[in-house]
């Protein structure tokens, strides 16, 4: 059962690959961005699950709750920053897609390439 016990790594790896596949294989630019988002979210999960301590609670000193077993809060803080970065990237990417649609009238990769060749 050792393999199943590491299930959060499996979730991470599978999500990562689904996202990566979408980025590489899809020709629609919005779908590519969805893939990119998934790809980043997978990494968020990797960070958050690594900070979890079995039986640990949220690290808040309250009501004498000083000696309890705490989960590591640092990865969550890091990932808060990474989520902000991820959102900005997606937003900027979508903005570029809108501009591409305005200029080329399409958001399919091959059609854009064709229109530039002419």
């Amino acid at each position: 059962m050792e393999l199943l016990g590491l299930y959060h790594y499996w979730v991470f790896a599978v999500l990562l690959m689904i996202g990566f596949y979408a980025v590489v294989a899809k020709v629609n630019l919005v779908k590519k961005l969805i893939g990119l988002s998934l790809f980043q979210s997978a990494v968020f999960l990797l960070y958050i699950t690594m900070g979890k301590v079995t039986g640990g609670t949220a690290p808040i000193f309250q009501d004498g709750n000083v000696d309890a077993l705490f989960s590591n809060p640092l990865p969550q803080v890091l990932i808060l920053t990474a989520i902000v970065v991820g959102i900005s990237t997606t937003a900027l990417g979508l903005g570029i897609v809108v501009r591409i649609k305005e200029e080329y009238g399409s958001i399919e990769e091959h059609e854009i390439q064709e229109r530039d060749r002419r």
């Binding site: 980025v23 990494v43 960070y47 690594m50 920053t81 970065v85 990237t89 990417g93 501009r99 200029e103």
Partner: protein, 502 residues
């Protein structure tokens, strides 16, 4: 009055970063440019001071908010980062000083404040990567600089920049995410994000697989950001269709900063702690470096667009830098780091000259540049001077670093001879592609030249642009003859990176 000198590392980032939102408000014409240029020059001034302090033997460390290092966020400047800071802030200042007319042509005046804001953010991000001593901060600054440079590249009037920047965004994000995975795995094993702390702790777990995986993720992710062949496909189009000023700025420093992080991580954190890391590093990157030099130069031979030709030549130059690093010796590393500095001058001057050309010639295809030498002799002379440095003609900066590279390769014994052959072959190809520019500009008969509408029919580029271009081009000669400061910094940097290794 507190002593500002102690705060220089953080001011290096804070000055451009805080200036950025202010620039948005500067609506009147020209004011945004003036503020951005002043901020950039100030950053350059700080970088010069830091380099002076480092050369004087000072160890520059800074703890944000006074929190001590493993828990607080530390900044640090050693000779390697000082050299990179000079490149980044210098490239930004030169490009901004020269670019006013070019940016006026490319971007409507009501969008200009936003453009300069993005520029300052890119500068702050790049400087932030270099001063950070903390793996996660490097990621954050990397994304700040990347997001800002996507905006800069997409800012121009050419619609082909948009698909190019989309590709750049996707590949850049994948690269940064790979780096993030690697940092996560290292954090999982060592419990620290501070690079110096990581170096101390990693040897306890160095034989475990996550560390090896982390080294792989970090190296590949940063190689993507640095446009190491074959991960360079985002670079040529992004450089070609970006506004000319942006190309001059980013081509001189953006990929080099990614290479800086790559070297720093691989040499300081992994090198001394992972068994066989140097063999893996060399075996992985040296073939890529050789291919980058050969393929990049070969493609440049056949490119018809001037900017794209220079972009492929950049791919080859990244190869030279990496080749020096992949020798894993002090001589090789210092040659590679020196080449970073010298190539920034050569490519910066070339793209500045391209910017001058673009004020008179609409298309930058080589066959449309016929007769350029007659109408713009000064611009073309600067372009050729920088081209000579790119080739590595004695007396120019390019020669110095290639000389050190060849010397370092010869120390490697028999395989070193092959590397020398690669460097020579790359330089010979550079002779050919620089000659193609010369041929187009001097010897081709001007057919129906397409002038930029509204521009003066004949004559040189605007004076400020030309003066800066010449200053940078002459820098190539100056640093080709006087190699003291940058060689000192590069050699010390190599010493720092290799630590105790001979």
């Amino acid at each position: 009055m507190t002593d500002l000198n102690a705060h220089l590392p953080v001011l290096q980032v804070v000055v451009p970063m805080l200036l950025a939102p202010l620039v948005v408000l500067l609506r009147p014409r020209g004011l945004a440019w003036a503020a951005a240029t002043a901020g950039s020059l100030m950053a350059f001034f700080i970088a010069v001071n830091l380099a002076g302090a480092v050369l004087g033997g000072a160890e520059v460390r800074y703890e944000l908010g006074g929190w001590a290092a493993p828990y607080g966020i530390a900044l640090g400047v050693d000779s390697f980062s000082a050299l990179l800071l000079l490149i980044v802030t210098g490239a930004s200042s030169a490009a901004l000083l020269a670019a006013r007319r070019s940016i006026d042509d490319a971007i409507e005046s009501d969008r200009q404040p936003l453009f300069y804001t993005a520029w300052l953010l890119a500068l702050a991000g790049l400087a932030g990567i270099v001063v950070s001593a903390d793996a996660f901060n490097i990621f954050v600054f990397m994304e700040i600089s990347s997001l800002a440079s996507y905006i800069l590249v997409a800012g121009g009037p050419d619609r082909r920049a948009l698909p190019a920047v989309f590709k750049y965004l996707v590949m850049g994000t994948i690269g940064a995410t790979f780096y993030l995975i690697g940092v996560g795995l290292v954090y999982m094993m060592t419990g620290t994000l501070n690079l110096a702390d990581m170096e101390l702790r990693i040897h306890e777990v160095a034989d475990q697989r996550p560390i090896l995986v982390a080294a792989g993720f970090i190296t590949v992710g940063l190689a993507l950001k640095a446009a190491v062949f074959p991960l360079h496909v985002w670079l040529p189009n992004a450089y070609t269709f970006a506004p000319h000023a942006v190309t001059a700025f980013l081509a001189a420093c953006a990929t080099k900063v990614a290479l800086y992080v790559l070297m720093r991580f691989d040499f300081i954190v992994f090198q001394q702690n992972l068994a066989g890391h140097e063999v893996q590093f060399a075996a992985f990157l040296m073939p890529l470096a050789v291919l980058a030099i050969l393929v990049g130069s070969a493609v440049a031979l056949f490119e018809r667009n001037l900017k794209r030709l220079l972009a492929y030549s950049s791919v080859a130059q990244i190869g030279y830098i990496l080749l020096g690093a992949s020798m894993v010796s002090v001589a090789g590393l210092s040659a590679g780091i020196l080449h970073m500095f010298n190539h920034a001058f050569a490519k910066g001057a070339l793209f500045l000259a391209v910017m001058c050309l673009a004020t008179r010639f609409a298309g930058l295809d080589l066959d449309r540049l016929a007769g350029a030498a007659r109408t713009m002799p000064w611009t073309m002379a600067a372009l050729v001077l920088a081209g000579l440095s790119l080739i590595g003609v004695p007396g120019t900066a390019g020669f110095v670093s290639k000389w050190y590279l060849v010397t370092a390769a010869l120390n490697e014994g028999l395989p070193g001879l092959l590397l020398v052959a690669v460097v020579v072959a790359g330089s010979l190809m550079a002779v050919v592609y620089v000659w193609r520019i010369v041929e187009a500009a001097w010897f081709a008969t001007p057919a129906a030249n397409e002038e930029v509408p509204g521009a003066a029919v004949t004559g040189e580029a605007p004076l400020p642009m030309l003066v800066v271009t010449w200053a940078v081009a002459l820098g190539n000669v100056f640093f080709g003859l006087f190699t003291g400061v940058q060689r000192e910094l590069a050699e010390r940097a190599a010493g720092v990176l290799l630590g105790g290794l001979p």
